[in-house]
Symmetry: C2
């Protein structure tokens, strides 16, 4: 069979990685796909620039729409990033009947509904394995590998930069700022790190994972999102004393009243695999009612790791290129007519256990006041630790871990504790997940 | 669309689990597959027996061929086990043009070539996610999720019983025999445990994994296979002192001259995720040239975990039921015409690092003799530890770890050491893998 011609939008890190992987593994890929897959045309800004891949046999242009519209291009790979022009390009490709592969999580989290509706209307495939957790085939695992399950929850370390920062804070006692600066120097973090450290990137990915796990629409604007910039070395240390590690997790959980979607720093018991995922690596734990707990681990970013996912999508698409759309795997795991508009729970209706850190005056009765307030809101205390005061200090840290409670109750309890004259700091509140099933 | 009728061969643990999962998650599964999937007929021995699933709406028979031949059965699920009758049934289903789902690793390891040839000839799908690592979607991950990679190696804990035994030996100091007896009491090990503890079951699964990872024929009889029955608590302890845990691994590695296929107890650095997989859980590490290291973790056995894989296969098959075979994923990951008959290396040509334990007379010159022999075979020593003798004892244990060496050289070196009058035991030899890329 004649080879499939790929048009590439974007020749940056992942674009060049994709060209290199397709070329280096051409034989291996054709043995699997049954046809060759060649990048024949690519759009890039700054055309004369030195690139990380060979482009001699690729027609280059600075107009991405020229790639989408070229009649010789069979499949479009969108690796431009951003969400506005990418959206126009992807929609144009779909309208032209061309399958699309994209690794653009922002695009799908923000405009996914429009894109998948258009893809369904035109009977065109849109594949996006590279949009979540780089090279880990997590989309395929959830969408197809666990298709027999009612998925109860999933939780993932889905931003490598954030995990690198938290790992350095624990291993080397760096402050958040120091670890971030180092991540930027190493090229892990963007110059504007807000997407990584404030959880926006993780929320994009969580939006996609939740949609394919539960069969719900993409609802980025309803994800509760809290970053790691306020995590302190002190909290990392106290968490360690209690047998926990702090990880920045994206969590989606099915509850009776709806679905929880949340991104926040989380205390995880140190024996869990998720707690032992270090540096820039990613991992996602998925709990299905039939299979039980499963974990998927690997590099969440990088030129060739993401290219691995892009090429896997290309192989899937090439195999089904001339097949009836009814024979394909549904793009979002569930049939379009079966997407269920389940409510996403507000933050106050979410339920987790908590870690609290208070700085209190070192005098009798303070602990009694605090525990009384927790009791009034029916919040069960799991552990309470009053640290020794530093010499000369008049304040002592108090660490409290609780059992699972509705967030609305905890909000009120914290407001009441905050109002006690003996409480000197803004009460630090982190969430705890046991992940024991 | 009208539902798909499944004929089930075998109503044991996994069979009943499959019936239960299909019924409980019927709505969720139909939302994904676009059609209902119903077990309408089943073959079982001992018909009147109490079963772990509801069978009221299932036609029961004690003749499995009646299920295969029933015109109302669209898809056959083989969960009988064993390899002779299962082989006949699966071939009969294929000849009747009916897709087959099987979780039978022995069947595929021993007769896979014949079965996949027949499936290819008749344009019929044979799916087998449940045959390896229970509910972990490892077949799909390797076959499709990593399709852009040249897979360099994979290593897996793919027998839960063996991993349970090794975990108890380490955590509680049980002997192999004690841990095995406990596993049998808990129902993890068969009454005849030889398949689990001597590595036969793991070798079946490794045969399948290697075929889809490298695109090579199924070659069970060329797998080097060593069990865990001779692993002692002493070795578990010494390995721990050196920073390793002993795991029973199946390893497939691409080498320039061919492919290594081996199952044996292995020392793994304790920080690796594989070293931290406990009890009956399974995990497989796969290294692809583009993606780097990835790990897949979950329950490797159990009624519903395996049923999860069986149902995922059913969903895949149902989606593609009327599709042209050319549009389907190749059953063994690579196109049938692209399977490469790469040589499987003999044991003496494999390369690993080693852990050796010798019991030697406590007198001068013995260590010099031993290290001289290793030197003659160009075997680099990484560490050598001579333990303190017990009071009154005339012999002392010596532990040696080496760098990577060809197994043939190590065989000769061990024979020479064995011949030293000061060496009192059969030299204990375990392999070490670092898994650092």
């Amino acid at each position: 069979m004649k080879p499939v011609n790929v048009g590439l939008l974007g020749l940056g890190t992942v674009g060049a990685g994709t060209v290199n992987v397709l070329r280096r593994n051409a034989e291996e890929i054709e043995r699997r796909a049954g046809r060759g897959i060649h990048v024949t045309m690519a759009a890039a800004r700054d055309l004369p620039r030195q690139r990380a891949c060979e482009t001699r046999d690729i027609r280059l242009t600075d107009d991405p729409f020229a790639v989408v519209n070229d009649p010789a291009v069979d499949v479009v790979v969108e690796l431009i990033g951003g969400d506005e022009i990418a959206r126009e390009l992807v929609l144009a490709a779909i309208r032209a009947g061309k399958p699309v592969v994209t690794a653009n999580k922002a695009l799908l989290a923000l405009h996914g509904q429009e894109i998948f509706d258009a893809a369904h209307e035109h009977g065109v495939a849109v594949a996006f394995e590279g949009a979540v957790a780089g090279g880990i085939p997590i989309i395929k695992a959830i969408r197809e590998g666990l298709a027999g399950n009612r998925i109860e929850w999933l939780a993932g370390i889905i931003n490598g930069t954030g995990n690198y920062i938290l790992t350095q804070m624990r291993d080397r006692g760096l402050s958040f700022g120091e670890a971030l600066a180092e991540a930027q120097q190493l090229g892990y973090a963007e110059a504007d790190p807000i997407y990584d450290v404030e959880g926006v990137d993780a929320a994009h990915k969580l939006t996609i994972l939740a949609s394919i796990a539960f069969g719900i629409p993409l609802r980025f604007d309803e994800v509760y999102c809290e970053g790691i910039s306020r995590v302190t070395v002190a909290d990392v240390g106290y968490a360690g004393e209690l047998g926990y590690r702090i990880k920045h997790l994206g969590i989606a959980r099915r509850r009776e009243q709806g679905v929880e979607l949340r991104v926040h720093p989380t205390l995880v018991p140190e024996r869990r695999l998720l707690a032992n995922v270090e540096g820039v690596m990613n991992a996602i734990m998925v709990y299905g009612d039939a299979v039980g707990p499963t974990v998927y681990y690997g590099p969440g970013a990088g030129a060739e790791a993401t290219a691995s996912a892009v090429v896997a999508d290309l192989v899937d698409i090439v195999r089904a290129l001339t097949a009836d759309p009814g024979h394909r795997v549904p793009l979002l795991a569930f049939q379009p007519s079966a997407i269920a508009d389940v409510p996403i729970l507000a933050a106050e209706d979410m339920e987790t256990a908590y870690y609290l850190r208070l700085l209190v005056m070192d005098k009798p009765g303070v602990l009694a006041d605090i525990t009384r307030i927790l009791g009034e809101f029916c919040i069960s205390i799991e552990a309470i630790i009053q640290k020794e005061p530093e010499p000369e200090a008049t304040h002592v840290p108090v660490i409290i871990t609780t059992r699972t409670v509705r967030e609305g109750e905890m909000d009120q309890a914290i407001r009441r504790m905050q109002a006690l004259p003996a409480v000197m700091n803004d009460v630090v509140r982190l969430r705890i997940e046991q992940f024991d099933g």
